[in-house]
Symmetry: C2
Subunit: 270 residues, 2 copies
DNA sequence: CGTAATCGGGTACGGTGTACCCAGTTCGAT
DNA sequence: ATCGAACTGGGTACACCGTACCCGATTACG
């Protein structure tokens, strides 16, 4: 309210996608808000919801870069500036897109809970990965100022519910979630980046590496990289499932801690 | 050579920061290149090296968003278009910035090797984290088409050297590196995003969460999130070191696999 | 010395987010 | 019934961005 214009202008100068740059109170209202119309004035022909839906559709289909105010306005058949009647700015639009899409994986399966915490982690990781594959643009949004909407809270609640059985302290449970999600996001980002690179350059991965081959071979023969030069042919093959490998390692690592804690409870003060 | 303009134009339409979008052969030449001057024409007043140095300086100080061709040209005291005499386009500039900065952590310590693979992973993780903190903009560059320059190869060689002692198969060693790096990048990204959000909005984290508090409290009291509502006060405190926690879990997870493999070698065909 | 090759860089184009402003619409108060 | 406040729609304009295109100045080879 007190702050129009200046800050938003500064925010827009910054990097690619940021969240929560604008009026947070406004974002919160939009997320939890009642949607009550003011009594006076003509009926609005648009709604934040419709704009967010259109934005997510464009982002899914063509990437976050295709989501521009002009593009959305033509998509919705309105003037560009009309969008600003419903959304304070692009930053808030990203906020809303985030919350919309984060709810999806949990809306799908309200069914049976995971058997134990191992299954919960497995499900959490796969769900997160699926969602990131469906909406790769999620990886480009600054989530630091994510406004915690209903969807985000529900996701966190479900995750914590599945992990309670580990018998760890509360901050450690958060640590487990962070560690797993970081790992998943890293892999998802690698894949998304690769796909984007192919789309942008029109050059396949194979062709790209073929271009580098002569330089790499020269480097390997130079003797400066003895370990790499001696590695197996299939080392960088895509046959190896990095997701499964990493996830199993993570679960094993948590298991060790869970075991320690259980032992301590059994025989305290050793 | 055969491909001027059109592809580069298409590439520039895409998202934020991408790498290897341009002429790969040119990028490779710049990375490994001899730097031989052509014989005719006036002496160049600039060099790719100077441009990259300026670009890294600006990115470190003000973020990747501040790195624009116009900005670099004023920084270097030349005309904007002069930069294109030395670098095919912005995509290639990002390539070069990447390789420049990836070499740093290994240039610093050519000294004693780590005691064992555990120490190697620890060192790798901390080195990576330090580097990402020094150059947060690294997290915004699409690395899928990273041109493997000398620095990148040297880093990979050192990492593999430290991990050889684990006794795992070669693709698994890569898996270890990927898993650790994904985790580290996830944490670094969280921190970088937070810092960026503060810089953009001028709003501290505390103030931000304070804004959300009423909505969160209402949600907690609603009974829809019983597990979260019952968590300890310090659950989301920043006192808890997420980096240490996650890293120890990862090492424990790898340890389990290393133990299995050692046992198999001891008593094969059980 | 001519000329081919290279360097420096100005201008222009199509893209972005959005500030600012005005015209048209609708409803509450009088 | 009428007036005006509150609201919606949206056109125009500005400051950025990357870079295609082109021209004049400079240099060294034939």
């Amino acid at each position: 309210m007190t702050n129009d214009g200046t800050t938003a202008g500064a925010a827009s100068k910054a990097d690619g996608a940021a969240t929560g740059s604008g009026d947070i109170a406004r974002s919160l209202e939009l997320l939890w808000g009642t949607g009550e119309r003011p009594s006076r004035g003509p009926k609005p022909g648009l709604s934040p919801d419709r704009i967010v839906t259109a934005a997510v559709a464009v982002a899914d289909a063509e990437g976050l870069a295709a989501v521009s105010m002009r593009r959305l306005s033509t998509e919705l058949g309105t003037g560009t500036m009309s969008l600003y009647r419903y959304i304070p700015g692009k930053a808030e639009l990203l906020d809303l897109m985030l919350d919309r899409v984060q709810g999806e994986p949990f809306a799908v399966r309200p069914d049976e809970p995971p058997a134990d915490w191992r299954a919960a982690i497995d499900r959490m990781a796969r769900g997160h990965l699926d969602n990131l594959r469906r909406h790769p643009w999620l990886l480009k949004i600054n989530q630091a100022r994510t406004v915690l909407g209903p969807s985000a809270l529900r996701g966190l609640e479900l995750a914590l519910t599945g992990l309670r059985g580990m018998g760890l302290r509360d901050p450690e449970l958060i640590g487990v979630i962070i560690t797993v999600n970081s790992f998943v996001e890293g892999l998802a980002r690698t894949q998304a980046d690769a796909a984007e690179a192919v789309a942008q350059t029109g050059l396949s991965d194979e062709a790209f590496w073929e271009n580098q081959r002569p330089y790499l071979e020269r480097a390997m023969l130079s003797g400066a990289y003895p370990v790499m030069a001696g590695m197996a042919e299939d080392t960088f093959s895509s046959d190896f499932d990095q997701f499964e490998f990493g996830l199993q390692r993570l679960i094993a690592g948590f298991d060790a801690l869970v075991g320690e804690r259980a032992a301590e409870r059994e025989a305290p003060r050793t």
